[in-house]
Symmetry: C2
């Protein structure tokens, strides 16, 4: 959606067909095609724009065949938020079971994926949410998903936040979706030699850091954007990651909640509207 | 001096003897000593506190024998600022000849070491200094040392700072001594996938960064503190680095200027005053 709103620095040439996710059914294949047959279900992998149309014609290499047992609503949305969570967990720190991570924006889709994927790796998540009506219910919901601790921002306005952690290890990695003060709250948990990875700026405020964090605590601030990761990684690696994430679903290790299914359903309806024009490559036609 | 002012988070047990640099002359050695003889000149390496006394008794392993041809004023001050500059240049980016770096606080001791060591590696330095009386003379002085470009902060308050660089490559690394707005000026030169290393906060202001730098430009912010580096690196590596730096001096590739020699001379006088008490290890006695 960032692409449509124009907040994403990648600007497709116009006119363009939007949306990068979805599940397609193979409709027709060229005579040279061996790996896919009509009726197979596929997702675009690695991500590429243009699923918001009824028919797509593209080379077989950009499609990943789906196991027909994967729930279609998960397959259709597996390619952005869950990989963002997985990559941030795996690529910025060497996490072991019983290590901790700390994140803000924990109610977001990526936030909830992080909680669940961390838990499936035996990693404890410390979660920060905004002070809002319903935050007690939100805490319960996140704990049900596997969150180890959930705090509202105001609960962390104390000097020694680590006193809230009991026996939990100091977090080894921080994830920042919110920026502004909520980023400072993540860093408040750090002792020595830690990284905070920024993947969103929902507060629309910058990140402000005291110099001493860098010099004396050896803090490292990094960023993550799936688009960049996909551009610099091989297609096989992307496909293997998607398979791994889809395997978490039948075991209940990765699940969405009611509210997301509603928005997924809205989105699915949108997918049925043809806003683009047909491509011209004869090798493969997908029906969405 | 940070130790004496109490701004350094390392707190020695009191009473303590200050200062970590200096050149000592070996006065007496134990009978088992083979590597050092009376009359040899040594520096404490790796850095350890307590050179501000007339006699020191410590194990031979903490002393590095000096080539007698090394100018004593350089040897006595080689252990903090030049290694800080060298490590930041070598440990945070893979720099090749003709690459560029950008730094603020360029008039500082580390800043001038950076200019010279970068030049000795064939690397171009882009330097930022404060707007002060005498900044034209400062620009000239830094260019004489090897600076490729020198700008005052106010010169960089334009939209496209890269238009000032002519044929120079976009800087591959930023070094931040000042923080506050001067850190933002360093980052203004960055395109994709760059690191800024903070080693000082002279403005006493924090570093403020827009979220988009992390996500879309893949900015990485790190910190450097020589104390941490020394603690996590082997003694042989430290000694080799000091030798390498001292070798730059006779060729004129690393030099201090008049103002530093004045402060060195003050410091040298201070070294002659015994403020501590003698240690008790009989293996080696140094006279400062």
């Amino acid at each position: 959606m960032d692409l449509i709103f124009g907040v994403c620095p990648v600007r497709p040439q116009l006119p363009a067909v939007g949306v990068r996710v979805g599940v397609g059914e193979v409709h027709l294949v060229g005579s040279a095609m061996k790996d896919l047959s009509p009726g197979d279900l596929v997702i675009p992998s690695p991500l590429s724009s243009g699923t918001w149309q009824t028919y797509i014609v593209k080379d077989q290499s950009v499609w990943q065949k789906m196991d027909k047992n994967s729930p279609i609503e998960y397959a259709a949305t597996i390619s952005i938020n869950p990989p963002t969570a997985l990559r941030m967990l795996e690529d910025f720190a060497s996490l072991e079971p019983r290590d901790s991570i700390v994140q803000n924006g924990a109610r977001s889709m990526v936030g909830r994926c992080l909680i669940q994927i961390a838990k499936s790796h035996g990693i404890h998540s410390i979660n920060i949410i905004r002070d809002r009506v319903g935050s007690d219910e939100a805490k319960e919901a996140l704990k049900k998903l596997g969150a180890k601790e959930v705090f509202t921002e105001s609960q962390l306005e104390i000097k020694n936040v680590k006193s809230l952690l009991g026996d939990l290890k100091d977090p080894a990695l921080g994830l920042n979706r919110t920026s502004g003060n909520a980023a400072s709250l993540v860093m408040k948990f750090f002792r020595l030699d830690k990284s905070m990875v920024t993947y969103g700026g929902m507060s629309k405020k910058p990140i402000t850091v005291s110099t001493s964090y860098f010099i004396f605590k050896d803090l490292s601030l990094r960023g993550f954007w799936l688009h960049n990761w996909m551009s610099s990684n091989d297609v096989t690696g992307c496909k293997r990651m998607i398979d791994h994430l889809l395997e978490l679903v039948p075991d209940g290790k990765l699940k969405y909640e009611y509210t997301e299914l509603v928005s997924f359903s809205d989105f699915h309806i949108a997918l049925d509207k043809s806003l683009g024009k047909l491509g011209s490559h004869p090798k493969q036609v997908l029906k969405f």
